[in-house]
């Protein structure tokens, strides 16, 4: 079962379902921490803090800011690698971030129902999902998954410029720079995509809090304990 609401399977125990295994939960919070560091230091790289006084040899402020950014970038990239591996070996829900069943009629029908639900239309059916609902899945696929991949690829492309020609970063990601035109363009798009992820985070936080308050499904605690419980 890749997707679909729980209504399709009335025989299942709806008290609680184990959705997020430990690697997914760890990945989620590691990524959260990395993102916070990345956005903060990224903005500081674009808009550096006021100059520090004294001799250059006494300071390494901007160096540390960039170091934090690069380290968090590596953490993000490695955590995604682990996450991709887990999508292969993990349960069905782990694949939701990578495979959107756009070929499924049922999926689209539920997507339409999600739109109605969030638009407060009375015709919306109250469906329940153990994993992500189709609308959330689509948003996560484009903004969290593809957005992160875009940031990792462009990020390593820019990192390769410092690592130098012939470095493994250059061999793997150096081709990205001419694709965008030149290095400055890669910087611009990297910066722009940061805002896409910020936007995703705003909606994500809102949706999670909203779900937790207004429905009988657990969601915040699910990403801590792993179980989706239904308070019926």
């Amino acid at each position: 079962m890749l997707q679909n609401s729980l209504a399709a399977d009335p025989n299942r125990d709806l008290k609680s379902i184990y959705v997020y295994a430990a690697p997914v939960r760890i990945w989620h919070w590691v990524m959260t921490a990395a993102m916070i560091v990345l956005v903060t230091t990224g903005l500081l790289i674009a808009y550096p803090p006021p100059a520090v006084g004294g001799e250059a040899s006494e300071h390494f402020l901007f160096g540390y800011i960039r170091f934090a950014h690069f380290t968090a970038g590596y953490v993000l990239a490695i955590s995604w690698l682990v996450r991709v591996y887990w999508a292969i070996v993990g349960n069905d829900y782990t694949r939701q971030l990578f495979l959107v069943p756009v070929w499924s009629r049922a999926w689209w029908s539920e997507f339409g129902n999600d739109l109605k639900t969030y638009a407060f239309l009375p015709s919306a059916k109250p469906l329940r999902y153990a994993g992500h609902n189709p609308m959330a899945q689509l948003a996560m696929f484009f903004m969290a998954t593809l957005g992160s991949f875009f940031m990792i690829i462009t990020g390593f492309a820019m990192y390769s410029e410092g690592a130098g020609r012939g470095s493994w970063q250059d061999k793997l990601f150096g081709w990205v720079i001419p694709l965008f035109g030149q290095s400055q363009d890669v910087h611009t798009w990297h910066h722009l995509c940061m805002w896409l992820i910020v936007m995703f985070t705003i909606v994500h936080l809102y949706m999670v809090v909203r779900q937790e308050i207004t429905t009988k499904e657990s969601i915040l605690s699910t990403m801590i304990g792993g179980y989706r419980s239904f308070k019926d």
Partner: protein, 363 residues
């Protein structure tokens, strides 16, 4: 056919000067003394390779830079005396006389000459925006390029299009690789390129009879392998976090990093911070002005030279990543607030225990 060495001796160059030139060339190419006799042997035995230098839509800044090469030996010996057979702005002959040389070299040395192109061909109106020798430059370029061994694209015009290709590009000027697709092209971008870089590239091709090692974008790695930033003498201020905030502040007087006032050194591949200009006297950053990124593709269409976060033209308006991204994030936050408000209102009307609306009406 004459060899390089024979031409040199005929021009009155002594054997001693010749060997000095060979060792200078080996050094400037970063090859070491082992290669000095190899270069000498190559020049003594190989027939000379003529260089034709054509001018399209351009400002001649490449030539201006070139004739100021700090190593007159390399420039004069390799190009004026030895190999530069045609260059309509530098040669003494003009008109039909000059045109005759072009025709002679292309026939006599068919497949064995190097074509250097300064400027680029405009394609609009059948190429009529640039006429050389009574013909559209694009036709002349294609004709001479057809039998060339290799082609050098001098400067950002020939390499990327440069200022005449800036939006909206009324003449439809294009880099030469758009019209010459079947020959190896070596790009030497810059507006203009550094003189020593130009002479070294030609010297390398003449002595070793092959292209220098090129990067993904067709630029010689030995001069475009690193960014200005990687070898900038102000780099310690960058790492320390010491930046010029405005042009007359304390930081500017102390020679702090120009990153915040839009220096494009971190995104520009060139040799300015190592080779420098005018006999190694200085380069823009040393003079207190940020790099404008003149050797990078599209540098002319990236908004202000003084912005760190540069403009995005794809959105049709003058905007940068933060204006667009910030607006999107702001609108999203506002939409979330409205949605949350509506959710709260709806919820207030529903009894929590039963899920039935408080006014008793059926759903």
């Amino acid at each position: 056919m004459e060899t390089f060495y024979e031409v040199l001796r005929r021009q009155g160059i002594t054997r001693r000067s010749f060997v000095k030139f060979c060792s200078l060339t080996a050094t400037s190419l970063g090859l070491g003394s082992y290669f000095t006799p190899q270069i000498a042997r190559a020049l003594e035995t190989k027939p000379r390779t003529p260089v034709l230098w054509m001018h399209g839509l351009e400002c001649t800044c490449c030539s201006e830079s070139f004739i100021r090469s700090a190593h007159p030996l390399a420039k004069d010996v390799v190009l004026s005396m030895l190999s530069l057979d045609y260059d309509d702005t530098l040669m003494a002959s003009a008109g039909h006389q000059a045109q005759a040389i072009l025709d002679e070299i292309t026939t006599k040395y068919k497949g064995n000459y190097i074509l250097a192109v300064e400027g680029n061909p405009p394609l609009n109106e059948d190429g009529m925006y640039c006429i050389t020798g009574g013909k559209p430059f694009v036709e002349e370029l294609k004709r001479v390029a057809k039998d060339a061994k290799a082609i050098i694209a001098w400067g950002s015009c020939a390499s990327w299009g440069c200022v005449q290709a800036a939006k909206p590009n009324p003449t439809r000027a294009v880099p030469i690789n758009k019209v010459i697709t079947d020959k190896p092209i070596i790009k030497v971008p810059g507006c203009p390129p550094i003189a020593e870089v130009m002479t070294a590239v030609v010297t390398y091709m003449l002595t070793f009879d092959r292209l220098p090692e090129l990067d993904r974008q067709g630029r010689p790695k030995m001069f475009y392998g690193q960014r200005i930033h990687d070898k900038c003498y102000r780099r310690p201020h960058f790492d320390a976090g010491q930046f010029v905030e405005s042009w007359d502040d304390e930081g500017a007087r102390k020679g702090y990093c120009l990153y915040k006032v839009g220096c494009k050194g971190p995104t520009t591949y060139n040799a300015c911070s190592t080779v420098r200009w005018n006999d190694g006297v200085s380069f823009p950053i040393q003079s207190g002005h940020g790099c404008i990124g003149c050797s990078e593709d599209g540098f002319w269409d990236k908004g202000s030279f003084y912005d760190r976060v540069t403009g995005i033209k794809q959105f049709g308006i003058e905007a940068n990543a933060d204006k667009i991204g910030g607006t999107v994030a702001g609108v999203t936050a506002a939409a979330v607030a409205v949605h949350a408000g509506v959710t709260a209102l709806k919820r207030a009307k529903v009894d929590h225990g039963t899920g039935i609306p408080k006014d008793g009406s059926a759903k």
